[in-house]
């Protein structure tokens, strides 16, 4: 029953956000501000996540596929395809649920419990347009950009790990990556990140916007925002894979 009510409130907030999205003047400034916070500020953590994911993939694949009958280029193909089709999007999104989602839920939750959202409404602002719309729009625009960063550093990390551990020469790695490359996997990655960006920013906005009960309530909202975002991202990943592949 509670879950149904939450779903209803979440849908109502999304509907309000959709209706308010035409009020660009209200959220223009915070939209660009959010693009910087969600996109630019997340680049370092996405670089690191991508780099180490690719590196570990290469080392583990080389370990598991150690055989005279399997060409080394296969490792490049496995790592780059896995990064492009799945890992760059999913692992980055799980990290971003912690970084971006938690920030959004905490910010809005604190604004709610300290009556700043009431203050906005009482001044005549549409608080959904001012607070939720720019965050969700910035999320769906910047997550695909971060996907590119994750892919570049993931494949780069895999390449360098193979090179420095001496398991896969760069030429073999690149040969495999090129040989099995399909542009569709990149498009699929973009679609995923677009969806994940929407899921994380909208759920976190919802949890923060309706936070109650002071500091403890904000903490609870933030935890719920992160956990639910991660769960829904994994569910959406499964659904997208089932539908689009």
């Amino acid at each position: 029953m509670k879950a149904l009510r939450e779903l209803g409130n979440y849908s109502t907030l999304l509907y309000q956000a959709l209706r308010s999205s035409t009020e660009f003047k209200t959220y223009r400034k915070s939209f660009f501000h959010e693009m910087v916070k969600i996109g630019y500020d997340s680049v370092p953590i996405i670089m690191l996540t991508g780099f180490f994911t690719g590196s570990v993939m290469t080392i583990q694949s080389a370990y598991q596929l150690e055989s005279a009958f399997i060409p080394l280029s296969t490792i490049g193909a496995i790592v780059s395809e896995s990064i492009l089709i799945e890992l760059a999007a999913v692992i980055s999104s799980l990290v971003l649920a912690g970084k971006v989602g938690a920030r959004i839920a905490t910010e809005l939750g604190t604004m709610r419990v300290s009556e700043q959202i009431d203050a906005l409404e009482s001044m005549g602002f549409n608080s959904v347009s001012f607070l939720v719309v720019p965050r969700v729009l910035a999320g769906i625009m910047m997550f695909p950009v971060l996907y590119i960063v994750a892919c570049v550093f993931g494949i780069g990390g895999g390449l360098l790990a193979g090179l420095f551990t001496g398991t896969v020469p760069a030429a073999d790695f690149l040969l495999g990556a090129r040989m099995y490359f399909q542009p569709w996997t990149v498009i699929f990655g973009f679609v995923k990140m677009f969806v994940f960006g929407f899921i994380i920013t909208s759920i976190s906005s919802y949890k923060g916007y309706y936070a109650t009960g002071g500091a403890e309530g904000v903490g609870k909202s933030t935890t719920n925002a992160t956990v639910i975002s991660c769960m829904v991202v994994l569910l959406a990943d499964f659904l997208l894979a089932s539908l689009l592949l």
Binding site: K25, T26, S114, E115, Q116, D118, A119, E121, S122, M123, G124, F125, N126
Partner: protein
């Protein structure tokens, strides 16, 4: 004029109050009093439609704010200034920007005009020198005054104060009370003050509405309140030595 008619509100099974009706005339200052948790703040959030009642209506100059569409409601809310209990300043921007905030979005004023209006609002609350301070650098009393400057910068017709003196020392409380009186006079503004500080009520209010036992228990002028034999009201207003003295002196 604000007309509150048969307002009832509950949160789930918890009845806050029912059948609350009273009017607020233009230019008067009314204090809404009652014990903590009796729904005073909830009541003022119904006046500018931040909360929706279970039943009843709130007429602002004859129009029911709860029956308006969202766009009209937002326009009407600009006629209200609100000083929130915790000031509700935006902590990501400084004092000047907090006060300038509504002007930047709801007026077509130039930067020069915005600056002049912000400084005028800050001068009303004696804080011109603090215009570039971060909100984290402000004391409790200063935060209330900045909140007040932000509430009056759009030159509202009505101003609502939610516990304006709570958490402040007696001297700062006195300054805030004097500000409420000054603003009511100088801006010819209708003021609604939610408080349980009887010293503040006696100082600023023309009329009093007393919430008790989930209803509007008593309503009248301050002079009538001093003479009233309403038991719950007497118990409430004579809960401190100071107030007992005031009442004895009056009688």
């Amino acid at each position: 004029m604000i007309e509150i008619k048969n307002l009832t509100k509950s949160f789930g099974d918890l009845l806050v109050w029912e059948d609350v009706s009273f009017n607020i005339q233009d230019g008067e200052t009314i204090a809404i009093i009652g014990k903590s948790g009796c729904g005073k703040s909830v009541l003022i959030k119904h006046i500018n439609a931040l909360l929706v009642p279970d039943s009843g209506s709130v007429l602002i100059d004859g129009e029911d704010i709860h029956k308006m569409d969202y766009v009209l409601k937002r326009k009407l809310r600009q006629k209200f200034g609100v000083l929130f209990q915790g000031s509700a300043l935006f902590d990501s921007i400084n004092t000047f920007e907090n006060v300038a905030f509504p002007l930047r979005y709801f007026s077509n004023q130039s930067e020069e005009e915005i600056r002049n209006n912000v400084m005028e609002a800050l001068s009303h609350v004696n804080l011109e020198d603090a215009y570039n301070k971060e909100t984290s650098e402000l004391s409790g009393g200063m935060r209330k005054r900045v909140g007040l400057a932000r509430a009056i910068v759009l030159k509202p017709n009505y101003i609502m104060y939610d516990e304006p003196t709570s958490g402040l020392d007696p001297q700062t409380s006195q300054e805030i009370n004097e500000l409420i009186i000054d603003l009511a006079k100088s801006l010819d503004i209708t003021s609604i003050v939610v408080t349980h500080d009887m010293h503040s009520v006696l100082k600023v209010a023309d009329k009093v509405a007393f919430l008790d036992q989930e209803k509007l228990s008593w309503h009248g002028t301050v002079e009538e309140m001093k003479k009233s034999e309403h038991k719950a009201l007497i118990d409430f207003i004579t809960a401190s030595e100071y107030q007992i003295k005031q009442r004895v002196e009056y009688n």
